[in-house]
Each structure stands twice: as structure tokens, then as C-alpha cells.
Amino acid sequence: MAAASARCGLGLGLRLCLALGLRLPHGGHHNLRGILQQRALHTGPTVYQSDDTHSKAENSDVVNITFIDRLGNRIPVKGKVGDNVLYLAHENGIDLEGACEASLACSTCHVYVNEEHFDKLPEAVEREEDMLDMAPVLQLNSRLGCQIILTKELEGMELTLPKITRNFYVDGHVPKPH
């Protein structure tokens, strides 16, 4: 099965940062767990198996956040202090792209942060602001997912994926051709 190339953890302990998550379907055609298991990969010594997420996390370390995907589905996710939000999204089958693999060279991991938690994030560095300038539908609460690292303070944070396609209807309706 497809093997993403491994990159070393971003100084976050024992983690495999996936090069880019597979885009996963909402339509239920595929077995989500099956795909996550396929993604538990074999490409380096610091492999972090998705199955281990729950057994390894100590309670004091757990940070619960919610992703709101492009269809408006709320997806609760259990992360840990120190987790990078982009890779956490990938591990949980969330549709958040990370084309440049967290190197501040694109804006594909653009998310909206809920008001309550937006101010709790450390200020964006200039390079993140520069890349955010390129993000479609930029809002005041926009941030790049790859720059958000979980802390206890971010418990309950909600991250919304921007609806970026013009024909995207919340109820899945597809417009009839002219």
C-alpha cells in the first residue's frame, strides 16, 4: 500500500509525521479504521502507530479539540500536549492538506480558530503571516494548522476547515448544469 515518505518528528518526541495525509471520503465508501491502519507505516525508527494513540496518552497530557470539516461535520479528536495540529488531523482522517509539510511554504493547512481559543495561541511569526496572506477567504481568526501546537490551554478548541470550493453546498447538493 502507499507509503508516505517519513519525516523526522518536529522535535515532538516519538512521532511519525506523515508527509501528507490521504484525502479521506465522507461518503463512507471506505473503512476509516482500515485506512488509518494502512497509514500506520513502516518507514523509520520513530513510527508512531495510530492504534497506540489512546493507550499511550496519559490523562494529564490529553487535549480534546474539535475539527469542523468542510461539510460542517463536527469531529472530536483526542490529542496530547505537544501535538502538531496538522499531523493530528491526518492521524484522525481529517481532510486538512499540508502540501509543504509544515515548512511555511504554502497555505493549504489554513484553518479558522474559534474566538475563545484564538487569543490563547502564540502570535504568528512573520513567515506564517506572509503565507496566510495567500490563503483564500482569509479571516481575522485564520491560522495555519501546521503552526498550532497543542497545550492544555487549548482544551476545547474548535478548528474549522474553510469551505473553499464555489460549488460546495453544505447539504451535499450538486448544482444542475446550465
Binding site: 461518503g27 492538506e97 502540501a99 506572509d130 464555489r166 460549488n167 448544482p175 446550465h178
Partner: protein, 438 residues
Amino acid sequence: MVPEYYESSVVDIYEKLPVPFGLVRFGVAPDHPEVKNVINAFTQTAHHDRCSFYGNVTVGKDVSIEELKQAYHALVLTYGAETNRTLDIPGKNLLGVYSARMFVGWYNGLPENKDLNPELSSETAVILGHGNVALDVARILLSPIDVLKKTDIAGHALEAIATSKVKRVLLVGRRGPLQVAFTIKELREMINLPDTRPLLNPSDFMGLKQAVKDLPRPRKRLTELMIKTALEKSSGKEVERQAAATKEWGLQFLRSPLEIIPSNDGKRVAGIRLSVNKMEGLGESAKFVQTGDVEDLECGLVLSSIGYKSYPIDPSVPFDHRLGIIPNNLGRVLHASGLYCSGWVKRGPTGVIVTTMHDGFETAETVLGDVRSGLLDVSASKGGSKVIGALLKQRGIRPVTFPEWEKIDNVEVARGEQAGKPREKLLDVQQMIEVASQ
């Protein structure tokens, strides 16, 4: 995207060159390797069992659109913009005048530009255009060799730039600072380029501080950076750095090219004559108007970076020659059935990875929506790559598969290692096919 959303779909990719990735390999500058990380995502998609890549196949020549339509339920045209808008002024054919597109192809190892052999023997280069491609070209012309030699820049370009005499690069645009098309990351890189000093004319920025306040964030931050660079007094350290710099680059505004001035022997560029413009109107609808005054700039290299352009691929595919795109609605080609398009040939030749990515998703959603609604009839069985493969074989065309690209990839990386570079690109299509066939 499509293989994951639709259980039984098969996606075949046909590409003219033996190697994949298009502009990510041939457009993104060599000193921007992080932007190329997206290759990992593309590779993962290509490894999907229902996705196949067939390189070295030119659609429109080796196989027709009609033949592809017979073999597939849907065709998605994503062939981008392979030519450029042309500079139509006297002197455009003098030695030393090139399109930025060809220059970029040259330093990025695009086979068709490997023999460009650009003139780098004069001190001043003029780039026409104020977009990111213009900045990329300026930066590559002025970057320290020690930086370039560790990138995947094409070998011949590295050698040529190492002996280049170019010390000054002027980016000339016909409109004003508020109309620049480049983005802040690239501008910042230029301002911080080692051993260079920026030449921004303060008078170009007078009175802009007020105008900037109400602009949308990206335009505001970009303009503020230019104003700061042009008007603010530098720190002692910066003054020293600039004084010690051996190279310089500048932005010139409100100048349009009228004529390229030949050397005494009439063969090469000696300068460029520019019309002095002024802006009329405000904001988005501001236009430039020639004042009648002219100015000459001495230079030995002129690169026109005034936009890319798409070609029509086949007479049977609708094409809007004015806009240079395939007429479409959200990626569904108008007045055609089973045809879709995505990327620059769909929207026009501007935008970065994030824009083209979202655009690709939009077209994919349109295709899937059409399958669901029945607009795209997938009931008949189609021959796909078996049929096309047989046609190509008959015609003596040898497609290069993804695993074969990976052999080329390995050779390039191995050669690069010897040279201290991420890869040493193969520059010749025949050579690529030889490696693929090993």
C-alpha cells in the same frame, strides 16, 4: 482525490514529458525546496493501485482527444500554460532578449530550454514584469553561487551563473506600486538577499502611506513592506551591509517597453527605451496611460515576464482565445461532453499551489457530481489504458510509467549526492527514456 471517493474509479495520467510533476519540478525555483515537498503527496497518489502515470505521451500528437474520449468515461484537461504572452516591440529578436519562461525552464532543466545559452556578459539586466516569476529570475541571477550550488538547479545554469557578469537587475513594470503582482514572501527574500542592495525610488512611494490603510490585508502588508524599504532610514548595520554589497536590484514603476535598442553591430541588446506612464483612476480599475515622455535604460539582457499563455490542445476542444482558457463551468467544459478541465487552462495562468489545489478539488467534485447525477454516463464499459496502450505501441510511442520515473529519480538523486545537490536533473528526453528502460 477521485480514487478515494469513488470505489471503482481508475485514473490514468498522460503527460508529454517522461517525468511527472510539471511546474513543481520545472517552475518552482531551485532555492525553494520546501515548496516542492508537495511531490510527496503527488507520489502517494500515483502509488494508488487505481492510478497510473504514462509519461512521454503527447496528447494531440501521439494520441488524439477523440481516441481518449472513446477509451475513457471522462477526460480532465490539466495541461496548463506552456507558452507566454509575447513582447511585440522592435528589437525583440536581438541577442540577449528572452522570455522569463524560457529562462526559468533553462535553470530548472526543462529539456526544451537546455540550449538557451543566455547572454550573461553585461552588468545590467532588465526584467519586464512585477510578478513572482520576475522576482524568481532576479533572485537566481543575483544569488551567491555558494547558495545555488547546493540546490537542484540545472548543471549548465550553475556553471553559466558562476561566470555571469550581471550585477544589477531592474524589474520594470508599466503600473504603480499598488498594482504589483508579486507576493510578500518573495519580496522579503529579495530584500534580504545576501550581498545585494535594494534600489527603490522614494518618490514612487510618496503619499502611499495613507492609501494603504484601507487596503485588504495582503495588499496592505505588501505595500507597507515596499514603503518601509524605500523610505525608512536603515539601521547602522543595514547601511553597512548595503554599502558593502556588490550587487543591486531595483523596482521601476510606470514604465512600458517601446523598443529594444541594438548594439552598434546591430546584433545584441544594448538598452531598452521605455514610455513614462501615469496612473489614472483608483483601486482595481486604475489604468496606466502613456505620458509621451520616454526614458532609456542601458542593459545587455532583457527578460520579459509578462504572463503565461495556454494553447488549444485539439480543434475538437473549445478554446477561448481572448482569455486563453477552455470555456467551462466549475471545471465542466462547455459545449462538450465528458470533458473537464482544471488548473491554469481552466482559470488562467496565475495562482500558487493552494489555489490550483483547491481548483483541482473543485473539478473533481464536478466530475463526481456529474457521475452521481447521471450527467456523466458511466454505464458503458471503456477500454482505458489497454486500448490507448495498444494504439501507442502501434505508433512506436514508449510510455514511461511511474516506477520507471522512479528509476530516473534515483539516478538524479545519486548524481546529485556526488555534487552536493538534492539531485542532478537529467536534461535530455532520450537520456530519461534510456534510464527508464534499464
